[in-house]
Amino acid sequence: MERFRFKFIVFLFLSVVFFGYSAILYFTETEQPQIPNKSAQKGKMLWQQKNCVSCHQLYGLGGHLGPDLTNVYAIRSEEYIKAFLKSGTTVMPDYQLSETEIQELLEFFKYTNTTGVADPASFSKHLNGTISQQ
């Protein structure tokens, strides 16, 4: 009986801390900006509807067939990105995107670029095993 009560209290304690932690994350705002306009919001939805994440990554999370696109807006010109979106590549199909859709995706990439830097080489390593980024 005593052992059961102890186990149950540990279970309950961990659960309460877990749900409290979850609530903090749901309601705390991060430093990064929200998606600024409707066009970029639509771009994000387009990113999901076309399932871009199956080949591409944001912050290293996603598929491996194509490159990480978090900071593509800073690395490549708009024309370069547009060319890819318009015609695809030897691996990526042409999704027959309209001019508006291409613009919405560009707005989304413009936004993702403002949220941070995804390049792992931009992190400094510390002796205690942690990392930091300027």
Partner: protein, 430 residues
């Protein structure tokens, strides 16, 4: 306990799960071919359809078979038929229609576009309903947690936390979360990390039950060490998920908590090493039992996968593995080497085929080692590119990895052959 009249409704979960596994293998091979011959499917059935077909089929194999084995073992544990079998039948139909519907929707290019759960979010309604029905049946089949072995606690935890984390993974539907990329990704990976922990609770719980059954003793399941390890697993399920997002600019405390909590897994790793000798002796004793053979295979893969996971959980090492094929190696080690190996052990115990899966078993394990190493080497090569040669175009870097993709593809074919050899006797016994 011998199977009785309502067993067929539970067994159907296992056989359906095996069909999803076959689907995962088929689309896995098709996807792997894309790495060897880039663009091979471009105009026929492009990769953004193949990958979710592979991933979702694998997840459905895990979920369906995990539910079936929990119900079957709960029935044996209680030594009486499962109550509310009609509800389970309803849940089975809901899951099957939803899962098949999802696979069909992918073929038509209908996506929700969230990694791993890439289907339209409308499918989440029946999936959640099916899971609630599973919980109702599960809870109605035991009166209290008092005097219950550790595996019943694990099933209970897995069933409840899966529902919570699954619902949590749909929070992106709320505009305030969806329109805040970093918050969205933080919650997304929080839910995924804990969700995998939840289905692991169902699967590991069943593996402890099966070990008890084979050894004929329930001493371990009631022991203090079993419960300490259960609480350690629960602690990690709840708080270690942040190691997926060390490079995401989210709140720093998320990463610090994840780092510290993940390091507690060293206790499990150390225990495996400490008990290595006695584990080998026990393994030799029971190795002739089909299901036990798969349990031993999973043990070896727990050691390898956990070792890699611990290294990946150190942020300073994580940056060399994150976003590379090393993460794929870890996922494959966990889903094939651990989850699938354990689920096959349950299937062999429940369906009891007469054929011994000797050759298929060794084929799976040997090819999986080659497959795993090829991915790790490809991952390290990609990391080298990220840190030293980022000026080389992505496509060129991927082309340089091709030799490793060939090894990955050929070992993948052998792996599929091995798995099919193991699955066929099970399907014949359904």
């Amino acid at each position: 306990m011998e199977p009785s009249h309502n067993n067929k409704y539970i067994k159907i979960f296992i056989t359906t799960g095996l069909l999803f596994l076959l689907s995962a293998l088929f689309f896995g091979l098709a996807g792997a071919l894309e790495y060897v011959v880039p663009g091979v499917w471009r105009n026929i059935f492009s990769f953004e359809k193949i990958r979710p077909l592979h991933v979702s089929s694998a997840v459905f194999w895990i979920l369906t078979t995990a539910i079936g084995s929990v119900l079957c073992f709960l029935k044996e544990h209680n030594e009486q038929n499962i109550k509310n079998i009609k509800i389970i039948r309803l849940a089975f139909y809901i899951f099957t229609f939803s899962f098949v519907g999802i696979l069909i929707s992918y073929c038509f290019g209908i996506f929700g576009g969230r990694e791993y759960w890439e289907f339209n979010p409308l499918f989440s309604i029946p999936i959640s309903m099916g899971w609630i029905l599973f919980i109702v049946v599960f809870l109605s089949n035991f009166k209290t947690l008092k005097k219950q072995p550790v595996y019943v606690w694990m099933w209970f935890t897995g069933a409840l936390f899966f529902l919570f984390t699954y619902l949590e993974s749909n929070l992106w539907l709320i505009p305030n979360i969806r329109n805040h990329l970093i918050k969205d990704m933080t919650i997304q990976w929080k839910s995924y990390g804990s969700m995998v922990g939840s289905w692991n609770m169902l699967i590991y719980g069943s593996s402890i039950y099966l070990l008890d059954k084979i050894s004929g003793s329930k001493k371990y399941s009631f022991s203090n060490i079993a419960f300490w390890l259960y609480f350690l697993g629960l602690f990690n399920l709840m708080f270690n998920w942040g190691h997926h997002i060390y490079t995401l600019p989210t709140q720093p405390y998320v990463k610090h908590i994840a780092y510290v909590v993940s390091m507690t897994e060293l206790l499990i790793f150390g225990r495996i090493i400490y008990l290595w000798k006695s584990s080998v002796t026990t393994a030799q004793k029971h190795f002739h039992i089909n299901s036990y053979r798969f349990l031993i295979g999973a043990d070896v893969w727990v050691f390898l996968t956990l070792g890699l996971a611990i290294l990946m959980s150190i942020p300073a090492l994580n940056i060399y593995m994150h976003g590379t094929h090393t993460v794929v190696a870890h996922t494959m080690g966990a889903t094939i080497g651990i989850n699938s190996m354990l689920l096959l052990a349950f299937a062999y115990d429940i369906l009891k085929p007469k054929t011994k899966p000797k050759f298929g078993y060794w084929l799976i394990n040997v090819s999986l080692v080659v497959f795993w190493i090829a991915l790790i080497v490809a991952g390290f090569s990609k990391a080298y590119w990220q840190f030293n040669n980022p000026e080389i175009p992505y496509g060129e870097m991927i082309a340089q990895l091709k030799p490793w993709f060939y090894v990955f593809f050929v070992s993948g074919i052998v792996l599929v052959i091995g798995l099919v050899m193991v699955i066929i006797p099970l399907l014949k016994r359904r």
